[in-house]
Structure formats: C-alpha cells, structure tokens
Symmetry: C2
Subunit: 261 residues, 2 copies
C-alpha cells in the first residue's frame, strides 16, 4: 500500500490557487492514501467569524468536488482538512474522499488556541473507515497531544492514522513516534509550511511532515521549509499485530478496570 | 525540591552487596526524592519461582529496613523496586519510604515478558501520595508504554512520577518526553545498567536514566554504562499548571465522553 502526504504553503483565502498548487504537486502521483494539511485550501489564521463562515462548506461543495476529482487522477483515497459548516456551526474538520465521493468527515475534538474563537468543538466520537481493506482513522493537528485520540482510533481498529496538521509547536513529530509505538499504528502527519501574518497573529508553520511506522520508525520526513510530496510503501497488516514479544500485547495487557481516565 | 536517581548494576541475588553499593554511591547526598531502579536489590533475571519467592519480602523486612535507614541519612523520600510478597503471590513492586517508615507500595500493572512467569499482575489502581507537600505517583518500567498509567497518575494529581526501571528496549527515554509533555508532570526514570546472563536469558540493561521536566525537557540524563547519581532541582508547582496557552488546558480540553478506552 502506497501512502503519502503533500506539504506546501497554502495562500490564505484563495481556494482555487491552493487547489491548483496541490494538483500540480501531485501530477503523475499514484497512491492509495494521500494526506493533505489541515485547512489546506483556506489557510489558518482567521480574523473574524465572517471570514470563517465565508470559507466554510458543506460536504459536496468546491473542496469536495476538487478532492473527488484529484482522487480520480491519483487513484487515491484522500484525507484533507476543510471548514465544515452545519447550520450555523463551523468545524475544523477533515474529509476522507475518493473518486466515488465522500466517505466521512471528522470534526477536530481538541481545538488549539484561537481556533476556539472560530470553530465549534467536534461533537462526534472518532470513527474508523475501511478503505481498500485497510482501516483508517482521522485526527487533526493538536489532537496529537491527547493520547486518548490515537488510542481511541487504534482500539477501534485503525491501522493508519491520517493526521492533517498546521503545526506551530515543535513537539508533535517526536510525539507521533510514541503514538505509533504505543498503538502499533502507522501515521501520516501532513503539515504545512510558510508563514501567516494576519491581524495580531504571526504564525510560522513547522513543516517536517512525517510518515511514522507502526513500530515507531520514521519512514519519511520532510524539511521544515520545502513544498514536497513524499510517498512510502507500507504493509498495513503489520498494524494488526499488537504483540511486543510472546508474552506482551499492547491491547490485551491494558488494565482499564484500574485506570482513572 | 531536589530530586534524583541512582543508576548502577545490581548483582543478582546479593541484597547486602547491592545495599552497600547504593549506600556508598549516595554517601554525602542530600535530596528530597531519590529513585532507585526496579528490583534494585535482587536483580531481574529469575530462573525459577523458588528463586523469586526466596528474594521476596513483605514490607518491614530487610529492603524496607535498609531504605528507611538510607532515607534518614539522605533526608529523602525514596522510591525503589522490590519483590513484594502477599500470601503466596509475588509482585514486581516499588515502595515509597522515608525515615519514618513505609508510605506505600505500588504493584506493577503491566508485566514485561517473562515477568509474567514469576509475578502476579498488580491488582490495585495507581495512587498518588503527598510527600513534603508534593504529590508523587509510582510506575515501573514497561508501564511507560501504556499512556493510561501516567495519565491516571496525572489525573489523580501526581506532579512527579517516580519510575524505577530495568529497561532493555530502546524507546522509553524518548517516550517519557511525550508522557511528561502530555501530562505536564515531572518524571524520574531510574534505570539499571549491566548485563545478566542467567539460564537462556541474556539481558543488557540500557541505562540512560533520565529526569524529564514537566514541559518535556530533559533535565538530567545518564550514560548507558556508567554507575552514577544525578540530581536536579525542580519547582514541582510547575506541574500543577496544565495550561498550554490562554485557550488550552491539557486536562480540561479532554473529551472523555467521546473516547473509547
């Protein structure tokens, strides 16, 4: 199974330009799973609720249409961040989509910093979806710091965690090693690069997108300032085996009756 | 608050020799909390249940007496691994003790490898104890790979995790950075060094004992082959603050109603 990510610098507010950038970067790429950054088409640093609302979509609108088209070209299932609107609520969300259409959306459970000003917090439990016989879960950026996110997905059977990100803190890439090691899952952390200076906010996104193996190995790793597509071939069945040695199993050895969580 | 660890190579089965080694290494040391390795007085690589039983103790026997004496000399609270016997069961345990006597024992919840042949699995939830006004929890070695262990202790208020270890895998030191970062706790991982070749088993213990700060900083780090005592001064009140920024709090932002754990 070929999995990968797109790392680039979205232009704030210009969906068409960002669609073109991603499509050009992926020209000629064939893969099974491709992960794009959080909010890849809109940018990240909002100044008002009106701005968020104006860039939001319900599934089926332009970002869905673009990704469905792109999925057909790349023969891939794609996971990518977008602003999902439902009634008057906007969510920092990711969609999983392929050439036949939308598979699911995930609404970020743990909003970071001023995202709390703009977005409603995810209101649905993280689910796992079977794509080409492989179980895939989604989480977004800051979800990484809560071990419960990845654990919940892994306990629900996820073999691969698709992890669209707009990271500004320096720790996630290293922590993803722990997440993959403690759950025996693969992870694709698709981060963005570039700066966004808008209003009083001035973010530098840290790149270093990473594909982490299900025994904590770093399988692919991007620079902190380079737009790139990285792909790697994995055997997702390795993520089914939770044994550490003949005596230990990461899931069977858990003691939920003695935890206070 | 001065906290630290003793890293050394215990001699299998010779408690008196190990007591002397630790006492000599700590001569002149004054600290508030000292952590010794897992099974520091007995060694690790057992060949029979009789051997385990013969090295086991109920609290109040020689290891407790030695540690109580040592705690008086160092003016410290000490956490150290030992084999705790209750009725016919033996536990891979740690005791917390000071000059006035035993504070508590902890029985390892996640036994590693052949430990399952020799020990009963811990049967009590991890608790937190207030020592000199600071809340301290205990976990042992392989407990590190289960995020629930450290999370449970942190949610119960632990500011410092005392982590006696006999590590043979290479990942724990890095994972403890994630554990401390995701919980804003300090951790003292006291590992042993040296080899034990007994029966068909041949273990090399990885040293690199580590004191990790409550924002994921490595505060002290030992070599992989050197017996040593390392100490560092910390402000344990830093571990009470779970905020990441004005909008985020590691505990308040959790979504337990949406996790499946």
């Amino acid at each position: 199974m070929r999995i990968g990510f797109v790392q680039f610098a979205p232009v704030f507010g210009d969906k068409e330009k960002n669609f073109r950038a991603v499509k050009e970067m992926l020209a000629g790429t064939i893969a099974d799973l491709l992960v794009l950054p959080e909010l890849f088409a809109t940018g990240y640093t909002f100044k008002s609720q009106e701005e968020v609302l104006s860039l939001s979509e319900v599934p089926g609108e332009e970002t869905s249409l673009f990704l469905k088209h792109l999925a057909g070209i790349c023969k891939a299932t794609i996971v990518a961040g977008f602003i999902e609107r439902e009634n008057s609520s906007c969510y920092n969300a990711a969609m999983m989509i392929d050439a036949s259409g939308l598979i699911a959306t995930y609404r970020k459970l743990h909003l970071f910093n001023k995202e709390k000003l703009w977005f409603s917090t995810g209101d649905r439990a993280p689910e796992v979806y079977t794509v080409r016989g492989v179980k895939i879960g989604m989480m977004i950026c800051f979800d990484w710091i809560f071990p419960e996110t990845c654990r919940t997905l892994a306990l629900r059977g996820a073999q691969i965690i698709a992890h669209p990100s707009n990271l500004v803190l320096p720790w996630a890439q290293q922590a993803m090693i722990t997440r993959c090691l403690e759950n025996h899952v693969f992870a694709v952390t698709a981060n963005r690069i570039g700066k966004e200076q808008r209003g009083e906010d001035d973010f530098t996104f840290t790149g270093q997108s990473q594909i982490t193996g299900c025994r904590g190995e770093i399988l692919a790793y991007a620079a902190d300032d380079t737009a790139c597509v990285l792909l790697t071939d994995i055997d997702p069945s390795q993520a089914i085996d939770k044994s550490v040695n003949p005596f230990n199993d990461l899931f069977k050895d858990r003691r939920p009756e003695l935890y206070s969580l």
